[in-house]
């Protein structure tokens, strides 16, 4: 009796989870199917009607998108912003993380507590002052400006993560390397970085996605020639409805890279997102 009830319960659980899974998949599937339809078909009926007549579907919207100079430029800008912003955060935070974990300098403890406090600072509060500062430095509206802002606001979490990870390196190992006469730089490059690889990978993935997906920062700091894909698409959203044939493939283009990263590095991705959720 109990076993029957449990079996029945399990069946219900399976059905429930399948329904939830479908609900979760539908919006993304809808975007993808929409991105394959012409604007005429979209005006005539919802994307689900295309499932009955798959002849409607084609990659024409995508080829049109690739010929759209504004969009391709924006895509490259996204890469030009995300890659340096990720590398710089990893490099600068690894250096600082090592210093905070193993090197002695005045003010180390209070400075690190400050970093911990900065973990949750909302980026909104930095927009206006940094915009003024960048204006004076000639960085406003440029890719380096966007990158620098992302690096600065990515640092507290990055330093926190790497410092805590590096602090777990056995002391004897570092002592041994120092005994061997290695300079701190050599120890950093040859020992700390390789040992810290898992944490660095999680950090890099998290930071990359954070910057790739950012709208707010680029909306303010990038001009029309340096704007990433998110900003270019955002300006299209105003005419929403008439331009699904641009918006849907554009949105899909912007999310395909994160999705590939997600499926390629599931474990690091989940860890990075979990760890970085404070932001």
């Amino acid at each position: 009796m109990n076993a029957v009830r449990r079996g029945l319960g399990n069946g219900l659980v399976q059905v429930f989870l399948v329904v939830i899974g479908l609900v979760w998949l539908t919006p993304l599937a809808g975007l993808f199917v929409s991105s394959l339809r012409s604007s005429e078909d979209t005006a005539e009926g919802g994307w689900w009607t295309a499932l009955a007549s798959p002849g409607q579907l084609s990659f024409d919207n995508y080829s049109a998108l690739l010929e759209n100079a504004g969009i391709t430029q924006a895509f490259f800008n996204t890469v030009l912003i995300s890659v340096p912003a990720t590398l710089l955060v990893v490099l600068i935070a690894a250096l600082a993380g090592y210093a905070f974990a193993w090197l002695d300098f005045p003010g180390r403890e209070p400075l690190f507590l400050l970093v911990v406090a900065l973990l949750v600072v909302p980026i909104q509060i930095g927009l206006l002052p940094v915009a003024k500062l960048f204006g004076q430095l000639g960085l406003f509206g440029t890719i380096p400006g966007v990158v620098l802002f992302h690096v600065a606001y990515g640092l507290p979490f990055a330093i926190f993560l790497l410092r805590n990870y590096f602090a777990e390196i056995p002391k004897e190992m570092l002592e041994a390397a120092r005994m061997d006469g290695g300079s701190e730089w050599r120890i950093f490059v040859q020992l700390v970085i390789p040992v810290g690889r898992p944490a660095i990978a999680s950090l890099a993935i998290f930071q990359f996605l954070w910057v790739w997906n950012d709208l707010l920062v680029a909306l303010l700091f990038a001009d029309s020639s340096s704007q990433p894909l998110t900003v270019a698409l955002q300006s299209q959203v105003r005419q929403f409805g008439s331009n699904i044939d641009v918006l849907a493939p554009g949105a899909f283009l912007s999310l395909i890279v994160p999705l590939v990263v997600f499926f390629a590095f599931q474990r690091h991705f989940v860890q990075g997102v979990m760890a970085g959720s404070v932001k």
């Binding site: 899974g21 919802g46 935070a93 620098l148 950093f188």
Partner: protein
């Protein structure tokens, strides 16, 4: 809420034997050199944090005490204005709604899914699927949900589902454009219904001639009403037809049931006595209906207004009232996987024997969940909840993208309002800074919590 990775992943490194032979350098000189090297390592980070994070925070706090132009010190005026300006007040109210609703819903949903998913074999695939939206930008998610929430049921999948669900339960066979031929015997009610004008006694026939029916509204199974209209009612019966009083080609006579004229199936007919509906029925495919076992007396027969109601069009998801719940829905789509995976990680650390012992003692799944799982998971649930509160406070892109222009002011939250006031036309950077400071103040408890937790972990 802080880096879970940092504590769960530990550096695995082999410890080599210390090698002999240390070159002699004066201890003091070495220490000084060490400090210089250390500062060099930390310098780039400290410079960027100082110039682009710490200084801006201080600047914004200062700026918030000045007026829009930045030239006049106004004390706390911007903070007073924040709670008087209707738009900002709306933003505060919406942010409160977000903070109250979204984290609680997500934690609850995450908990339920985390517990349930352990019972199926495809748990990993399910977790992966639900976590996937975390990789998608808020912008893309915004576009996805702008599509899904489209009010036109022929465009938005949500209203398409709502309409088909609605029509399954309350019937689709309505004739929104139809009118009855009023005049002798039939009157139109104020509410859009049609009723017999004279009292009808059992044993009679009542026909309803209709016009103005769109060909598309006539169901495929509709058949001519002529035959049914000739049947005679018994003494306790009322019979009749509802038919389309129109013959294509114009051969028909108004008010007469011509041979080809179609019955209208699915039409609701009511028998009313002394102002009360005593019986109701629906017409068959030939438009016929009949009431049996009517007690003697006088009746009115009526086609209620519901027959002519316009078709259900779904909900205005992105209208002023529903826009915030709709955007929260999109937020759930993104973050549920996060809550589920984090809670699931906590779940896997629960002592198996405690759960097994409870099962042995005959506790059912609900009791185990309520009395053991939830209390033991409380710390994890708190972490998830607090993390989500911090995230929700800063939600910007989703609101900015999903809320259509005219509804933007109904959906606005602190983060979008800060943007609008400072850069998006408002151009009042004093008030904008004050909103930024408010956002900062709201996360101060989390800041204190983080610092305390870190200090404790160092002891």
């Amino acid at each position: 809420m802080t880096a879970t990775t940092a504590t769960t992943v530990t550096a695995k490194a082999a410890v080599g034997p210390p090698s002999p032979g240390t070159p002699f350098v004066s201890a003091r000189r070495r220490r000084r050199r060490g400090r210089v090297v250390a500062l060099l390592f930390a310098f780039p980070a400290l410079l960027l944090l100082g110039a682009l994070v710490v200084y801006p925070v201080l600047f914004s706090i200062g700026r918030s005490f000045f007026d829009a132009s930045g030239n006049r010190f106004v004390g706390g005026d911007n903070y007073v204005e924040m709670f008087q300006d209707p738009a900002t007040l709306k933003a505060i109210r919406n942010t409160v709604i977000w903070v109250v609703v979204a984290p609680a819903l997500l934690t609850g949903l995450g908990l339920i899914l985390a517990v349930l998913v352990e019972k199926v074999r495809w748990a990993t695939a399910f977790k992966l699927l639900l976590f996937m939206p975390m990789a998608v930008s808020f912008l893309a998610a915004g576009i996805i949900f702008r599509l899904a929430y489209d009010q036109d049921p022929d465009k938005g999948v949500l209203n398409a589902a709502a309409v088909s669900l609605h029509d399954t339960f309350s019937g689709t066979s309505s004739y929104p454009t139809a009118r009855a031929r009023t005049g002798p015997g039939l009157v139109a009610g104020k509410d859009g219904s049609y009723a017999t004008s004279k009292a009808v006694t059992p044993g009679s026939t009542v026909v309803f001639p209709m016009v103005g029916v769109l060909p598309a509204d006539i169901p495929d199974n509709a058949s001519p009403a002529y035959q049914a209209a000739t049947e005679h009612p018994a003494s306790d019966e009322v019979r009749g037809v509802v038919y389309l009083d129109f013959t294509p080609g114009g051969a028909g006579t108004p008010g007469i049931i011509d041979r080809q004229e179609s019955g209208l199936p699915g039409m609701k007919v009511e028998a009313v006595r002394d102002g009360k509906t005593v019986a109701s029925t629906t017409t068959a495919s030939d438009g016929s209906y009949h009431f049996t076992h009517l007690s003697t007396g006088s009746y009115t027969f009526k086609l209620p207004a519901s027959n002519f109601a316009p078709p259900y069009q779904g909900l205005a998801w992105l209208g002023p009232t529903l826009v915030t719940p709709a955007i929260i829905g999109a937020y759930l789509w993104i973050w549920t996987g996060f809550a589920m995976v984090l809670i699931g990680a906590g779940l896997s650390t629960l002592p198996r024997d405690a759960l097994e012992a409870a099962r042995m003692d005959g506790a059912n799944e609900w009791q185990i969940f309520r009395r053991i799982t939830v209390p033991l998971l409380a710390p994890v649930l708190t972490v998830v909840f607090v993390t989500l509160v911090i995230n929700v406070l800063k939600v910007f892109d989703l609101v900015y993208i999903i809320a259509p222009g005219p509804v933007q002011e109904d959906a606005t939250v602190l983060a979008t309002q800060m943007w609008l006031v400072s850069f998006g036309g408002g151009n009042n950077q004093g008030l904008g800074s004050a909103i930024g400071v408010l956002l900062l103040l709201l996360v101060v408890p989390a800041m204190v919590f983080n610092v305390r937790r870190f200090k404790r972990s160092q002891r």
